[in-house]
Symmetry: C2
Subunit: 229 residues, 2 copies
């Protein structure tokens, strides 16, 4: 699983291992490798201009994320992520985002509420202007802040991972003004229920929010959404 929190991700930025790790992961998630392609340590280290050590460590981590399969004494192979995996993740997320919103009712801080309100406010502006990159970034921040607000290290960890896994698909789904606007409305409603400490409603709305994304994906065709933009 992935990087645990922004803090660590930030720090890792300055280690070679972190750079290699993120580079290979991005390449896999963006589909730059074909399925089951062999990842030779020497080749990667040469192409990135580093030694094998950081490459090895990065590959071992990617194995744990499930993106790479390592056969001892043989090599590392791209496992990648199939469209079924993405679909499964969305279903799992729909359950867990519901739980997250429910727990947030109890654990959210004033500061987090302020952050979320600001995010929603800014979103509306950027949706109006069709600034897709900002919209995506704000959507990210909304969800990650919610994960933080649930007060569970474990739940935050797993949801952040999944969130990252489906990043490419999410980026594409949000590139429609109509869907972006609806998503923003849904965020607003979720936050309201959390503020009201209405656990049942918060859970249901967060649940629905992801389900609506799934419906949206089905309409647009998942395979198309997995392509690079």
């Amino acid at each position: 699983m992935d990087n645990y929190n922004a803090n660590k991700e930030e720090m890792d930025k300055y280690s070679l291992r972190g750079k290699v790790f993120r580079k290979i992961r991005e390449d896999i998630l963006e589909g730059n490798y074909s399925e089951m392609e062999e990842l030779r340590e020497a080749a990667i280290s040469k192409s990135l201009g580093v030694s094998r050590t950081p490459v090895r460590e990065a590959l071992r981590q990617l194995e744990l994320e499930g993106l790479v399969t390592i056969v001892p004494n043989k090599g590392a192979y791209v496992t990648g992520i199939t469209s079924k995996d993405i679909y499964d993740i969305y279903i799992i997320r729909s359950y867990l985002e519901g739980l997250c919103a429910k727990w947030a009712c109890e654990h959210i801080t004033e500061e987090q509420i302020d952050t979320l309100e600001e995010i929603i406010y800014l979103s509306e502006f950027h949706i109006q202007k069709e600034h897709w990159d900002q919209i995506f970034e704000l959507d990210n921040r909304f969800h990650l802040t919610m994960y933080e607000a649930c007060g569970s290290k474990i739940l935050e960890h797993i949801l952040s991972d999944y969130h990252h896994y489906v990043e490419r698909v999410r980026k594409n789904t949000l590139s429609s003004k109509e869907r972006a606007r609806k998503a923003s409305e849904e965020h607003k409603a979720i936050l309201q229920s959390v503020k009201d400490k209405d656990e049942a409603r918060a859970e249901r709305l967060a649940n629905d929010h992801i389900f609506k994304s799934i419906a949206n994906i089905k309409n647009q065709g998942l395979e198309k959404l997995m392509k690079k933009h």
Copy 2:
């Protein structure tokens, strides 16, 4: 996210890195380290009689599992797992085991059904005889087979991880004849609904199964259960 499947775990058995990885993980999960204790690469490698390389790789993997926190250029620290984490995991599992049972209705194979029936049959025998180790092992196998049967690599992955995380607690809860017997009855009912392809019922029963474990934990006191047996 932990080891992906039995296959890989099996293969890793023969690499130093795998041994070191499992050794440190067990030590952490068994509470042999105190919270935030520093893990010095040199010390560990010396005590295990290996070089720093496999130790480093193991620590990097443990970081991804969330059991260790690595501060670049400083060191690795035990993060461990608190009783709140365990509690959270049980709640999350109750949702996901439900989903797993639901999906199993559609994807389970005849062979897997046979396996599960055999497990239940054997369990009854060992419960009668109070063979705690076998009971625990069979409980493990029941759940892991269910995870396999759900037909989702992603869900199987995360549930296996969590299952392992709470191993120590599960071992202790199952060491009561009364609870073991009830658990076995619950397993039987879940399998029946899966065989009947009754998705709603399977989901609800699997859900309840974990909830009952939580209730059981609360009764016995989580702190006590986290101790080594």
